[in-house]
Amino acid sequence: MITILDYGAGNLASLEGALDRLGFQHQRAERPDEIADKGALILPGVGHFEAAQKALRARGWWSTLPHFVAEGRPLLGICLGLQLLAEGSEEAPRASGLGLLPGLVRRLGPGVKVPHMGWSQVRSTYAHAGVPDLKDPWLYFVHSYALDVGPETLGIAAHGRPFTAITARGRVLGFQPHPEKSGPAGLRLLRSALAWMGETTPNDLGTIQ
């Protein structure tokens, strides 16, 4: 059972719709004591880093997420979710990130239109079981800040400069693009990531070509 962290940042309808189409079981949790007994956690997010951090703190997630990860819970951060898992962001210089993914988040630009909004191609750096056969997919992005490229970067996109589109450390995965908004390529990505996290669907052959 997948648990989606529901802390008021962004709409969850698209993500839940994508999980339904893929056949994954999922539930929302507003607080840490509501999560499923086991299974992957998804940290979604849109909006401002500091506002999201405050909301996560207020609901008790900020202090408990590192424990869940230490216990071996797989965790997927999407968009701002990825950024919150990093070490910190220029968007909130005084606040630090959760540090569950390596690297710093910096503003995009200058010289390009910000936010970076639309479809960009992601080039894979090396193979990872969570995102197997990444075939340089086109994925949908909406963001003004991005994680620097580092040794753990699995997929690189560029907007003005190269940045981390996909990264992983241990059982924690981060996607800067929105897989739930990225057509068939995004659904494939979401499915492979969740399968690697131990989630199964009744129809594991899937319906996505």
Binding site: M117, Y140, V142
Partner: protein
């Protein structure tokens, strides 16, 4: 630079997708969810829904179809039409829209753009603007579905919206070209090419080359309605054409 986007636009009335000439003789084309799924499959990069009769009583219906579209679609979508307040924006985003388009209400109260951008992030605030050529202003901005002239020039209004007010994207419709199939207003696009936010060109598309021309003249995305609805131009064909013309597009 992200890929250039191809965006079908769907007019919605009372929860149905309709097509009509100047709001007369509306023809029912199907449910928003059905059409959205069809365009998703065809390789559209994004969809825009414009609710042409969004009234107070109708809000429940609107939220229902927006929610259903959000659950079905695997690409982003914008909803506009009758958006008058921060509360309207919140309602549509909650229902699952990725972006909300604001038009007339922003002309009456420009701070609405700023307020919405501040609360929800500028990436989900689209300023929709209808403009027509004008001897005094270059291009004059019109409100109320392109029917009511304002005293604003397009250059002034769009610069203000994109820089000071914080709109995340501009949906720019040429009233002169809309429905003519004569091509986008390329001089208008040239004028707006230096805006710091993406511009969606709308109004006038009639051929494959027209779309390529709009992109050459600075548009970040191209929008059309009837041309796609009637199958005059198929999205995969358009994308192939744009790719062959040297533009980066997401393969279908």
């Amino acid at each position: 630079m992200p890929a250039k986007r191809v965006i079908p636009c769907l007019d919605v009335k009372d929860g149905r997708v309709v097509k009509g000439v100047q709001f007369k003789e509306l023809r029912d084309l199907g449910s928003p969810v059905e059409l959205a799924a069809r365009y998703d499959e065809a390789g559209a990069d994004e969809l825009v829904f414009l609710d042409i009769a969004a009234t107070q009583e109708y809000r429940g219906t609107q939220e229902a179809w927006v929610r259903e579209v959000a659950r079905t679609l695997s690409i982003p979508f914008t909803v506009g039409g009758g958006v008058r307040s921060v509360e309207d924006v919140r309602r549509l985003l909650r229902a699952g829209a990725d972006k909300v388009a604001i038009n007339s209400a922003a002309l009456e109260r420009p701070e609405l753009i700023w307020e919405a951008a501040e609360i929800f992030g500028r990436q989900c605030v689209v300023l929709a603007v209808d403009v027509a050529r004008d001897p005094d202003l270059g291009w004059r901005v019109f409100s109320h579905g392109g029917k009511r002239p304002t005293n604003r020039s397009a250059a002034e209004w769009l610069t203000c919206a994109a820089t000071e007010l914080g709109a995340g994207e501009i949906l720019l419709t040429s009233i002169d070209r809309d429905g003519t199939l004569a091509g986008f207003d390329l001089e208008l696009l040239d004028q707006m090419a230096s805006l710091p936010v993406p511009v969606i060109a709308s109004g006038g598309a009639g051929s494959l080359q027209h779309f390529a021309d709009a992109l050459t003249h600075g548009a970040d995305a191209v929008l059309a309605a009837t041309l796609f609805h009637e199958g005059t131009i198929l999205i995969p064909d358009l994308k192939t054409f744009l790719a062959e013309s040297g533009f980066e597009v997401r393969p279908c």
